[in-house]
Amino acid sequence: MHEYSIVSSLLERVGAEARAHNAIAVHRLTVRIGAAAGVDPDLLSKAYQMFREGTLCAGAELCVQRVEEQWACPECGRTIARGEILRCGQCAMPARLVSGDEIILEQIEMEVP
């Protein structure tokens, strides 16, 4: 359950950012989580509900944007579906993950004086 340790990194980062802006409160956090990132968005949200108590984020909504897992051939661009052999049938090149491994803090909405 590394979602807990991800949430504590999140709260630390947000806390630092909020202090730097002299924020009174945080209203919303936006994160992007890829389908192939190894982070479960539901577990992340649950861990967040638990850990935000008593922090600047106590009243802040966590908005999780999900990103699809997409593979493509770096040579010809042909998409390779998840579950297929990860090699282009035409060029024999190893597929590249185009998107889906994101674990990113995008935006913090905070209330400043």
């Binding site: 999140l10 980062r13 990132a37 982070v39 052999i85 990860l86 597929a95 990113i104 909405e109």
Partner: protein, 230 residues
């Protein structure tokens, strides 16, 4: 919100961050990597399920003929010191990183352990991660190579069920192949599953029991080491 008079009502501002959530870990991992590079040590992050044969493979590497590589290791363990004891008994300088309830190692834990080791003169530094196919996958420790130990007893579908750890791996050690005759599974099926989650599959079938396959694995490590030294 007060628009006109400048009375100082609070306002809501969006602050753009666009940064990896694990960037604090990434920074420490980067620092660890600099330590390894500075000392010319090839660092390995050895992951795999509990009991997949991570420690046994290291023991076998110490026994392997022509083993002139200087090897040291740290083992992540929730509660015990067993693995480090086994490794020391096999002649490998080793320490335990006790993780308590944490199900993976992070770069900070490795950094703390690192400063207890004399890295000078080492060829290979192995970080045996906590037995777990999920959580260790996303933490950079500063290693040069990610390796997953997958034992043939775990089932041919494990790569498909735990794709992230295999995608991020540089090599897979398919362990305990001495047991293949008893299991009705084939290396070909493991290879097929791995090729669906790992774009550049590299699989080393090995047995720590018989020593089979260790030569190819060690040769690959030596090649990586030489390249890291340049």
């Amino acid at each position: 919100m007060c628009q006109d008079c400048g009375c100082g009502d609070p306002e809501i501002v969006p602050v753009e961050v666009h940064e990896r959530l694990l960037s604090a870990n990434d920074r420490v991992a980067h620092h660890n990597r600099a330590h390894f590079v500075e000392h010319g040590v090839l660092a390995l992050n050895l992951m795999g399920s509990p009991g997949s044969g991570k420690t046994a493979t290291l023991e076998a590497m110490a026994r392997a003929p022509g083993a002139n590589r200087k090897l040291a290791a740290v083992s992540g363990d929730l509660a015990t010191d067993h693995d480090a004891q086994r490794l020391r008994a096999a002649g490998i300088p080793a320490a335990t990183i006790t993780t308590g309830s944490a199900c993976h190692l992070d770069a900070e834990m490795v950094h703390k352990a690192l400063h207890d080791f004399e890295l000078d003169g080492l060829d290979l530094f192995v970080i045996e991660n906590v037995g777990n196919l999920v959580c260790p996958a996303i933490y950079d420790l500063g290693q040069a190579l990610n390796v997953v130990a997958l034992s043939v007893t775990e089932g041919e579908d494990k790569p498909l069920k735990y794709p992230v750890i295999f995608r991020n791996a540089d090599a897979v050690l398919l362990t305990k192949i001495d047991l293949l005759p008893h299991l009705g599974v084939s290396i070909r099926n493991f290879d097929d599953a791995i090729a669906r989650v790992m774009p550049q599959p590299r699989v080393f079938p090995v047995s720590a029991r018989t020593g089979e396959g260790l030569d190819r694995w060690l040769q690959w490590l030596d090649e990586k080491r030489i390249r890291a030294d340049l």
